[in-house]
């Protein structure tokens, strides 16, 4: 069965224009990657609300902070590797820290593309596998990883209406649709895509699709898997994870991020405190990535154990430890 692949960046750019039409406070900033991030079209539609600061990400982030302080809702975008990786100080001190009364942090939306190792050809230097760890350690920040373009669009809308600093990581490659158009998204709430009783696979971003495929494989072996799209990395859905731990007895996490400090760590923190069960974390095992052409990206991911086959294998291991 051939899947329809859709592009997260195009969806993001399109959604920004829709939001921009409704909300005059929304401004968009880029750092010489506006064509790639598909924000350029917003600039054409609203030239006075669009700023390209050149290859100067620290400045990008801090100018966005200033715009937010003055009442705007800035969306600042470039590649993942250049925002959390390069600008942690500015994100922390200029965006997350400044708080007045009940407003925690400034109202900046950092939206990046090219998260994880599925970046491919650009190689390890451009594959951000530390951003979840960095961003979720900063107080006041919300961290989101959409699994498909429907999630991208809905989360972009939510961010535009929800006060506070947000970080959203998109993938470079086109992705299959996971969600229905009618799917509702709420920050802090995970989505159960498939119910099951033997094991829970919690995934985020492009690995959600792999989790579903793994569940299909396991089903053939008579193993019933619950699959969760954990797009809301922070705040994380503690209740949903506790429930999954109780009801399925083991959890496998999956992400294209270093297993240290990432989504799997976040899940483990919750489960170990609320209802300890065996957990296995699939992700980059504290290594750097490398180049791969587009058609080789599945192999690159496989090399790091990020594949439906490996998820299925690990799920069985987790289950055996129950």
């Amino acid at each position: 069965m051939s899947e329809t692949l859709t592009d997260m960046r195009s969806e993001y750019g399109k959604t920004l224009i829709e939001i921009g039409k409704e909300n005059p406070n929304v401004v968009v900033l880029g750092a010489d990657t506006t064509d790639s991030l598909k924000t350029l079209s917003f600039g054409k539609e609203f030239p006075d609300r669009f700023f390209n600061v050149g290859i100067a990400e620290a400045n990008l982030v801090t100018v966005a902070a200033g715009l937010a302080y003055a009442g705007k809702t800035p969306f600042a975008s470039t590649y993942a590797i250049f925002l959390p990786g390069r600008c942690v100080d500015q994100i922390r001190n200029a965006i997350a820290y400044p708080s007045r009364d009940d407003k925690n942090g400034l109202n900046v939306k950092l939206v990046v593309s090219h998260g994880g190792i599925s970046v491919g050809a650009d190689g390890g230097s451009h594959q951000q596998i530390e951003d979840i760890a960095i961003m979720r350690a900063i107080p006041h920040l919300t961290v989101l990883i959409p699994a498909d373009t429907i999630a991208v669009s809905k989360l972009t809308w939510i961010m535009s209406q929800r006060y506070g600093p947000h970080y959203m990581r998109m993938a470079r490659s086109a992705t299959p649709l996971i969600h229905q158009e009618s799917q509702e998204f709420e920050i802090g709430k995970g989505i159960v895509l498939r119910d099951g009783t033997d094991c829970t696979i919690a995934a985020c971003g492009i690995t959600v699709k792999m989790a579903l495929d793994a569940a299909d494989l396991l089903k053939k072996e008579g193993i019933s898997c619950r699959v969760i799209d954990g797009f809301s990395i922070k705040p994380i859905d503690e209740n949903l994870l506790e429930k999954a731990a109780k009801e399925t007895g083991c959890i496998v996490t999956c992400e294209e991020h270093n297993v240290m400090g990432g989504f799997g760590s976040a899940v483990s923190e919750v489960v170990s405190e609320r209802h300890p069960v065996p957990i296995k974390r699939i992700g980059v095992q504290d290594k750097f990535g490398e180049s791969a052409r587009d058609n080789e990206i599945p192999q690159l991911l496989e090399k790091h154990g990020i594949s439906s086959i490996n998820i299925a294998k690990v799920a069985k291991e987790a289950r055996s430890r129950k």
């Binding site: 609300r49 801090t62 100018v63 200033g66 715009l67 003055a70 500015q90 001190n93 400044p98 007045r100």
Partner: protein, 555 residues
């Protein structure tokens, strides 16, 4: 707030004292960089910026961004003086639960930028300025950046962005104090030229070595270079920057780290250290001892006053004393407001108009319109009603308020109610009317007695000694309590005006040092005198002070 030159000066002094109070109580903090920007902060908060301390988030307020966030004691102190919160709150600086954090924070009303991480305030300001442009708002963003933080690459990213987007609704002031945490900026990371050796003073004086302004010019900015402690220069620069369109403006203000306290000035050790508790009262007194020198140009060539003004400017006078005589209140006639109006465009140095005329209340507007910065009228020709009117008119027009008394006049009783409003009191030490007379010795005692009366009535202006003041008596005049000194023939009558003004300063400084040594002795005997002297690390101050303390019998 629209305050005059003298009020700004007084508020800067008040804020400096609060910096000492706060950092001493905290036991840490950054007084040096707070003092280098004191006058800049003063001009912004007390003259240029529109804000409402009772409504700190008023939408149309001007925004003050302190990018060099470690100078937060300077920011907090000025916000307190400006009325955002009670001055006593400075005692909570850096303490648990305080609104006055180690670096600027939104916990404190009036703070617009949470600074601390250096080099990012300019980008933040640009964001604010761009938002104001989108919204067609008229408020301005004023941003103070440091020279040390200019090592950060982001400053230059922001510089390019400011030029690209023609951010002209923002004024940047660079506090160029030449010192960063480790040492002199030109040793750590030269912005002008590498400094070899340890004598910063040569670097400061030699304009041909300054290249920082050129850097900004090459980034497409409108650059205005000034002495950042001279209020009139800051004032003029802010005016010019505010009027510049389509180009971002930066005022490169050359300043002295620790300005106002001799042992802190130009001393890298005072970047991030608080004064010791026992030293604080001596520093406090030193801050009360700021002084100014004002040559009186009628002692020069009356046919070419333009040239006399020029000599004062080149001689680095603090302001220019203009003796207006009408031939009635005094025998002589000099010039009137028309002449002052002609001289005004020649310089931004404050004009200190001393009106020796009858019925000053009828003429005060002429002198305001001529561009005087302070107007002093004689008590002998005023009464409660006319002086009240003069005071109000001057205040409304942001002109300093001065009262003068002749040698045989005492402060009239009607004047007591006005003493707290006065910016200046001229105590004449010659019979007014002509230049070149000898100082009347009894004025020393008279001034000392006056200080008590003035203190009782909450006078916080400057006593100006006027008449026969020269190098032999200026030190004693300072000790008496005078803080501004008019020099007639003793300054303007000399060939080398700059040299003689510098000699005046040295004499006053000597008197001030004696006063401070005495204060140290009174507070803590020889031990404290020695401790205080030990702090004077830069140049040959220490040697001079040791000698002086010996002569005074305090060491």
């Amino acid at each position: 707030m629209g305050m005059n030159y003298y009020q700004i000066k007084k508020n800067a002094r008040r804020a400096r004292k609060l910096v000492i109070r706060g950092t001493t109580a905290a036991g840490s903090g950054h007084p040096g960089g707070s003092f280098s920007m004191a006058e800049i902060m003063g001009c912004l908060l007390y003259k240029y910026m529109r804000y409402d301390p009772k409504n700190p988030l008023w939408e149309d307020r001007d925004r003050l961004v302190l990018s060099k966030g470690h100078a937060s004691p300077g920011l907090f102190s000025n916000l307190a003086v400006a009325g955002f919160f009670d001055e006593a709150e400075i005692d909570t600086l850096r303490k648990l639960g305080s609104r006055l954090q180690g670096h600027p924070d939104y916990k404190c009303p009036g703070v617009e930028f949470c600074g601390g991480s250096l080099g990012i305030g300019l980008s933040f300001s640009i964001g604010n300025a761009l938002a104001a442009k989108i919204d067609s708002k008229n408020h301005r963003i004023f941003t103070i950046i440091g020279d040390g933080e200019s090592d950060e690459g982001q400053v230059w990213e922001a510089a390019m962005t400011g030029a690209k987007y023609k951010v002209d609704n923002m004024t940047v002031i660079l506090d160029r104090n030449f010192i960063q945490q480790d040492s002199y900026t030109e040793k750590i990371m030269p912005l002008d030229e590498e400094l070899t050796g340890d004598d910063l003073s040569e670097m400061w004086k030699d304009a041909s070595r300054w290249k920082l302004g050129d850097k900004w010019r090459s980034f497409g900015w409108n650059v205005i270079e000034i002495d950042g402690h001279r209020i009139e220069q800051i004032d003029a620069a802010l005016k010019k920057a505010t009027q510049t369109r389509n180009t971002p403006s930066i005022i490169v203000a050359r300043t002295v780290k620790g300005k106002g306290v001799e042992h802190m000035e130009d001393n890298p050790k005072w970047h991030g250290v608080a004064p010791k508790k026992e030293i604080a009262p001596i520093i406090d007194l030193e801050l009360d001892c700021q002084f100014m020198i004002a040559p009186s140009i009628i002692a020069g060539d009356m046919a070419n006053l333009e040239n006399e003004v020029k000599r004062c400017v080149e001689g680095r006078a603090d302001y220019i004393h203009l003796d207006v005589m009408d031939g009635q209140f005094v025998q002589n006639t000099t010039f009137d407001h028309n002449k002052i109006k002609e001289l005004r465009p020649l310089t931004v140095i404050p004009f200190d108009a001393h009106l020796m005329i009858n019925e000053p209340v009828k003429h005060v507007n002429d002198y305001i319109n001529a561009g005087c910065d302070i107007v002093t009228v004689h008590a002998e020709v005023c009464d409660e009603s006319s002086f009240g009117e003069i005071k109000d008119t001057l205040r409304q027009n942001q002109v300093g308020i001065g009262l003068a008394i002749n040698p045989d006049t005492n402060l009239p009783e009607w004047s007591f109610q006005f003493l707290s409003d006065l910016d200046q009191l001229i105590v004449m030490s010659v019979v007014p009317g002509k230049s070149g007379q000898k100082y009347i010795e009894s004025t020393h005692q008279k001034t000392q007695d006056l200080v008590k009366v003035l203190t009782e009535h909450k006078f916080d202006g400057f006593i100006e000694a006027d008449g026969g003041v020269d190098l032999t008596n200026v030190g004693q005049c300072f000790t008496d309590g005078a803080r501004a000194f008019v020099g007639g023939s003793a300054i303007i009558g000399q060939k080398d005006v700059r040299g003689v003004i510098s000699d005046f300063r040295k004499e006053i400084l000597k008197a001030r040092r004696k006063l401070l040594i005495k204060k140290a002795y009174d507070l803590g005997g020889r031990d404290l005198v020695n401790k205080w002297i030990e702090l004077h690390l830069i140049g040959d101050k220490k040697t001079q002070l040791i000698q002086m303390a010996k002569e005074l019998g305090y060491s």
